[in-house]
């Protein structure tokens, strides 16, 4: 897959307008809809569908950052999210009181981010010296190793059963697992992560990362340490994955090896590819489609007389269709539709002139 051909097109690095003027009107409307959604949506939609979409979107976003901007397709992002989630369960309070340390949240949260970042950095350092399919293989190998390790290690990861009753702390006296509060919490985190990626893409680090993707040899000849830059990208991407991972544990109130299995690792890739790997919005679109399919597949499949656990069949067919017809995901389809519309409009006005 040549990500380089689809490099995001940038405006001048120095845009004089205010940040609020730079955001197009459809975005304001989109944001308003998300903010006001709780008026019409029920708890199931807020908690299960939207909450999960945002979480999966953030984990997918960390992959989009690495793959879209850095050209590194990592299957490790679910493991990094899982590491952060596990750390919240291990260091903080949980139902497995004999293993969990029950520390207070202001130690637990920074520690979870740090340990996940360390895990990402070390794994990244192993992975960045490889290219293409080999990066996928080595990250898959690390993800598999971590999965089996959590399943077999009882002293730290509590083995097969994992941790249950992992609840979010009551910041500001709010029960953050209440559907409304959880919706806004995940929405805020997703918006922050999304904004951070959009912002970083135009920072010296982000520009250089795209340079490393397109022409590593030239970047070295400009004074950049290509390896260090790639490893740093893994560390940075871990922040988005960790945010998603911690929220995922709070949403499910539990974490177990199944959460970070190979199929989950591949699901993150599916989510990013289906949505579109070129832009930060892609993973969120992909996550929404994935979640809808997973949640409502029972009804759809039941209608055609299949069993509910065949929903992966639908996802798989959708994935194949996307990869075949739009390598740039759903967002790519949208782009092409708009370009076609604009061309038709130009043709009609041009014909009249």
């Amino acid at each position: 897959m040549s990500v380089a051909d689809q490099a995001p097109r940038f405006a001048s690095p120095v845009d004089q307008r205010m940040w609020s003027e730079r955001i197009p009107a459809p975005w304001w409307i989109f944001g308003l809809i998300l903010l006001l959604l709780p008026i019409v949506a029920n708890n199931f939609w807020l908690f299960q569908i939207m909450g999960w979409t945002f979480i999966l979107g953030m984990i997918g976003l960390s992959l989009m950052f690495l793959a879209g901007y850095g050209g590194m397709v990592s299957l490790l992002q679910m493991s990094i999210a899982g590491m952060a989630g596990y750390m919240v369960a291990i260091l903080g309070p949980s139902g497995a009181a004999n293993v969990s340390l029950g520390l207070s949240w202001w130690i637990v949260l920074p520690a979870a981010f740090l340990i996940a970042a360390l895990f990402a950095t070390i794994s990244g350092a192993l992975a960045v010296r490889t290219d293409g399919i080999y990066t996928i293989m080595i990250t898959l190998a690390i993800a598999a190793a971590f999965f089996y390790f959590t399943r077999q290690n009882y002293s730290v990861f509590n083995g097969y059963s994992g941790f249950n009753l992992v609840l979010p702390p009551k910041f500001f006296g709010v029960n953050w697992r209440d559907p409304l509060a959880f919706y806004y919490l995940t929405l805020a985190c997703a918006a922050l992560c999304y904004g951070a990626v959009v912002y970083l893409a135009r920072s010296p680090f982000g520009l250089a990362l795209q340079g490393v993707r397109d022409n590593p040899r030239r970047m070295a000849a400009l004074g950049f340490n290509v390896t260090a830059h790639r490893v740093a990208a893994y560390a940075l991407a871990s922040v988005f994955a960790s945010t998603g991972g911690i929220l995922l544990v709070w949403q499910n109130a539990q974490i177990a090896p199944g959460t970070i299995g190979i199929s989950s690792a591949i699901d993150v890739l599916v989510v990013a590819v289906v949505g579109g790997m070129r832009r930060p919005l892609g993973p969120f679109i992909g996550a929404f489609i994935y979640v809808l399919l997973q949640v409502f597949s029972t009804d759809i499949l039941g209608f055609f007389g299949f069993s509910a656990d065949r929903f992966k069949l639908i996802i798989g067919i959708g994935f194949l269709a996307i990869v075949l017809f739009s390598p740039d995901g759903v967002l790519g389809l949208w782009d092409r539709w708009r370009a076609g519309l604009a061309a038709r409009k130009a043709a009609t006005t041009g014909g009249g002139a």
Partner: protein, 269 residues
């Protein structure tokens, strides 16, 4: 004439310990590709501020020599010193940060980014800002340095265009701007005039001759007219070895050189 392209500050690691007094010193550089010696036993020294042309037919080993100097290839044998410091086994980015720069024979640019972004990236690469997560402000020193470089290679009017949309000659000029970012002390130009029109060649000569005097360079150039106008000394290479060295005028009139390289109308090749 242009304003000085590059600031003359020399706050580069390794500055000032020029024990040998040479900007660049190569001793016995050999590069084998399998059983084939692309260059063998090349010994060469260039003084700070000296401008040297490297001439030779295709396959003489000129670009391989550049790759050994920049660290793109590690030489099979031999020693590379940059301002007195042994950089033989340094990775490319460490040499670049010490003030070495290069351009590529085939333009090696970021075609999906704008002209300004390309030059800005080059400026970041040799600054501590390369890991910065903060977007630059318009008055950022690196943005302004980039603007000056864009102007120096006469691309100000096209600074916001995507590099992929630029004409060939403009891309060659941008190559040069990238090589002049930060505080260069020594530049390797790999056939900068290749494919340029006569007007663009004249422009190139202006850009090269107006570089600050402390910046030395080696230029690989098939166009003798360009090479001899910008360089004061010449190294001739043949079959991976140094064949002759001397002042530009000596080399130009040397009968052996004439026979090997200049004769038969191959000069404009």
């Amino acid at each position: 004439m242009n304003a000085p392209v590059v600031s003359s500050r020399m706050n580069v690691p390794g500055a000032g310990n020029a024990s040998s007094g040479n900007a660049l010193e190569l001793r016995g550089i050999t590069k084998m590709f399998g059983a084939l010696a692309a260059i063998s036993d090349v010994t060469l020294s260039v003084k700070p501020g000296e401008r040297r042309a490297v001439l030779g037919s295709n396959g003489a080993g000129k670009t391989t020599l550049f790759n050994c100097i920049t660290g793109d290839f590690l030489p099979t044998a031999g020693l590379v010193r940059f301002f007195g410091e042994d950089v033989t086994v340094f990775p490319p980015h460490e040499r670049i940060r010490r003030g070495l720069r290069r351009t590529y024979q085939i333009s090696s640019l970021f075609t999906g980014l704008s002209v300004m972004d390309n030059v800005y990236l080059a400026c970041c690469g040799v600054s501590r800002n390369r890991f910065s997560l903060v977007r630059p402000r318009p008055d950022d020193a690196l943005v302004q340095a980039a603007e000056i470089l864009v102007e120096a290679v006469h691309l100000t009017d096209d600074k916001d265009r995507l590099v992929g949309e630029l004409a060939y000659g403009q891309q060659r000029q941008l190559e040069i701007a990238l090589a002049l970012s930060g505080a260069p002390r020594f530049v390797l130009f790999d056939e900068p005039a290749a494919g340029l029109s006569p007007t663009e060649r004249a422009d190139l000569v202006t850009i090269l001759t107006s570089l600050p005097a402390h910046i030395g360079f080696i230029i690989i150039e098939h166009d003798m007219d360009v090479a001899l106008r910008v360089a004061e000394s010449v190294t001739m290479m043949h079959n991976g070895r140094i064949f002759k060295e001397g002042r530009s005028d000596e080399i130009e009139s040397d009968p052996e050189v004439q026979e090997l390289y200049l004769g038969g109308g191959h000069a404009q090749h």
